[in-house]
Subunit: 195 residues, 2 copies
Amino acid sequence: MARKTGSHSDITGPRIRAEAQRLFARHGFAAVSMRQIAAAVGVQAGALYLYTADKESLLVDLLKGHMDDLLAAWAAQPRGGGALARLERFVRFHIRFHLDRAEVVFLSYMELRNLGPENFAQIEALRRSYENELEAILKAGQAEGVFALPDTKLATLAIIAMLTGVNTWFREGGRLSRDTVEEIYWDMARKAVAA
Amino acid sequence: MARKTGSHSDITGPRIRAEAQRLFARHGFAAVSMRQIAAAVGVQAGALYLYTADKESLLVDLLKGHMDDLLAAWAAQPRGGGALARLERFVRFHIRFHLDRAEVVFLSYMELRNLGPENFAQIEALRRSYENELEAILKAGQAEGVFALPDTKLATLAIIAMLTGVNTWFREGGRLSRDTVEEIYWDMARKAVAA
DNA sequence: GTCTATATCGGGATAGAC
DNA sequence: GTCTATCCCGATATAGAC
């Protein structure tokens, strides 16, 4: 189904990003060629350069867009309550948000190496902002006396690693539903930080 | 420092694997060329093929060797005691072993995609064996009544993800020593599974 | 906006001299 | 066992026609 001549600038751009995300996640950034992406979209390789400066920009746009979405979605969550309630909200939010975006999450963890230093630093800063959201909750819990943690930064990284790990094995329609998984992980996270 | 003509079959093979591991971990399997590896070793590209059938074999040998080492090292650990003592041993062993081999651990998580189906299956089977070691401990703890887990398989994956996550941020000479990190993670893991 | 064609480069792997 | 030379292929990116 090769695309014939015509004007499609409004839909070709998003389709390029979508196919790039799919292919990068499946085969790895370095293993995917611009020709492959173009073929998946249904245009010729040269046409891609109307929408992206180069291959790395394609990746950066995906990763930055993902981090922006993540921070915006978290900012839109309810904010009140005690540390325990806030932690529960974070755990459930994190699992749901990341399971819904498995491809780009995978990219965010695997393909940072393929970024230039300035792009890398930018993504890292966004990630640190997100980590700080969780650490603030853990610190609040320390102050309230409901959590007992020797090091809130380590606990932050440990919990995020544990939660994001769901993405590596969860399969839709498998043995466990999302809700069940959410429940089980919340149980473990809660106990891990408890006083 | 290009290597001059001579016989070095006994040391060139290991050096090729060592440089391949370093380069694959740093830049990604797909992004590293055989010429780069050869240059790092100090031989010409053609000479690599005296030691490896192709590029993928180089990767497979590294990953399989790592998994064999991991299972052998765990098998050599003391085995007795209650579930809590065994879990503590596993947690400390896992963190130490993985921190000592950051490069190949990184490869084991990132580059499985670059393996053919049969090689992939082989590595996956080894990984599952290792996971089963932890799950057996968790099941024993359930039976003893010292752990309370809705799903031992999930808890296995959650704990391993949490522990392996140390590799993504730990830097030698940083704020925390290995022993401190081990201690903090053991504290969280212990509480996460506790009855 | 998309196409075909191409410039330029570097990849994996092999052949044959030494 | 290593070297040089090379085959063949596919990569990114650009130029210019339509």
